[in-house]
Subunit: 325 residues, 2 copies
């Protein structure tokens, strides 16, 4: 059982600690890396030994955070999980499983946090862990330097789609204001994080748009990419995740479908819906799952069979919802 | 000569006024409409007669603002220009020229404001007129209702690309926080304003991407749309404006070119550059103009000639800048 702490208590604990290892979650994103890096810089400014470690490579995109990566040069006395909701999410590489076998502190904003650490600072109303981290750092008495502001702005903006997602609150904007006053290089960061697309990603998007189909009187839009196209474009498959939001952006569309063929030939189907259509209900009929507005499943079969199968289930769920079943 | 007022002075003046006509600028955007509508709702809540007028139709997209449009039912005693930088920008329709012949008050954030009104509240450090309007309304003693918050949030977010553009400041985020606390329906508004694209626009974008070309060792990207394609897609030409930002989003690109053929056959060329290349210098060589990062020109001639002409000038400017001329 974990013990839940306030921001002030967590700050006091970290202020008393030393030789601190900060662990990010696997498949690292802007929040885990940015909040972790910010904490590390703050602890070092307080003359502590601290470093960051992640099971997966930290994207080169984040190099401006000047992250002190753990290189084994000190024996961790204190282990802190940042933005990590469960032990499984620490990942299996870089010696992380051993180092994460006993986690002293956890700072997180995921409602489903398992409480794996001895002490946890959890606030699931925060749009990003950065919203908590800024207070933790300030309460330790460390300055929010321009570098720390850059790290936290990255965390905040990436977790909220640059203040566009529904998790954005008044507090999110208050923290953004504070970080900008502290010198966050908003313009450069926004260009880098939100206004830059790899050439290969643009090629893949062009291919997907060339396949754009409308179904159900223009209420459903479908795009797809075959494994040959994905290979030809040269795109990093991880870069295709946000392609799944494209079909639903089209005016009048209630169900957006994105089919991506895997290297083995099956199709991963991403289902995105507006509030009146249950994406998870559609996915479940085909052995998948997810949330009410974003769900997915994977089907074996050729493209035509896959399209027919998913479209039939979309139609069935829409019909049922209209019949009030 | 206009007299410049503080927020408090402008509030006091409007509080003392009645039968107020609020004028937006032509080609109305979210800031002029949202700030104007917010002021109108606030004045009406203070039991004043007030209405909004624009020379051009207000986009149906903004219908949720419940804008009281001026219908001639009262004789304006007080005329207020909102987000209008010069008399020319009032436009020529809907009887606006007569009504704008004497403007009592102006509330604006454009540095180039001509000072055409008797009294002006101008702050060019504001990302949007909404940043001033929220204070004007509050100082009049009117409540920032959820409807007014929606209007001002629209103004603020559209003028900053949802807090992504370089004009965004700490104050912008502070105002956003205040509007969210006042009940702005951020999630619905963001979906409507930033996450919805017309089918015709997607079709045009697909066509443009099919023409994507790279030049100068991948440092220049070019897209184009012929008048036949624009007609075939059915897109509203106004909806193609933000297409001009697409080429520059591609990683490694320093010059993004967008060529759109006009109904008469000439090509409008939009030039977007990163900081090290002067877009205006390129445009000026072809009789155009603009700013250092965004400029444009228009050329007669067929597609190939036009492409060759603009690419030659891009190359010349890049070469000169490298030679330090």
């Amino acid at each position: 059982m974990t013990e839940y702490l306030t921001v002030e208590q967590m700050s006091d604990c970290l202020f008393s600690a030393d030789n601190i290892l900060i662990l990010c979650h696997k498949n690292p994103d802007g929040d885990t890396v940015g909040s972790g890096a910010a904490l590390c810089h703050a602890l070092r400014a307080l003359d502590k030994t601290a470093a960051v470690l992640c099971s997966d490579p930290i994207p080169p995109l984040f190099s401006y955070m000047e992250i002190p990566v753990y290189d084994g040069s000190f024996e961790p006395e204190t282990v802190v999980g940042v933005d990590v909701a469960s032990v499984q999410l620490f990942g299996a590489n870089n010696g992380v499983p051993e180092l994460a076998s006993h986690v002293n502190y956890c700072i997180d904003h995921h409602a489903g946090n398992g409480g794996y650490a001895d002490f946890t600072l959890l606030d699931s109303t925060a749009a990003a862990t950065a919203e908590l981290m800024v207070d933790v750092i300030a309460h330790m008495g460390a300055e929010i330097t321009p570098l720390i502001a850059d790290c936290l702005y990255t965390a905040l903006s990436t977790d909220t789609g640059c203040f566009k997602f529904n998790n954005t609150t008044a507090r999110t904007h208050m923290v953004a204001a504070r970080l900008m006053e502290a010198g966050a290089r908003m313009a450069d960061l926004n260009k880098l994080l939100f206004e830059t697309v790899a050439k290969e990603r643009i090629t893949a998007e062009r291919m997907a748009l060339d396949h754009l189909e409308y179904h159900m009187d223009g209420r459903c839009a479908l795009i797809y990419l075959t494994r040959e196209e994905i290979a030809e474009s040269g795109v990093d498959p991880a870069d295709l995740e946000d392609l799944t939001s494209l079909p639903l952006k089209i005016a009048g569309i209630h169900v957006g479908l994105t089919l991506r063929q895997t290297p083995t030939g099956s199709y991963r189907i991403s289902i995105r819906t507006l509030g009146d259509v249950d994406a998870c209900a559609i996915a479940r009929r085909l052995g998948g799952g997810g949330h009410s507005r974003a769900a997915g499943c994977e089907l074996e079969g050729n493209l035509d069979n896959t399209k027919n199968a998913i479209l039939a289930e979309v139609e069935a769920v829409i019909r049922e919802s209209q019949e009030g079943c």
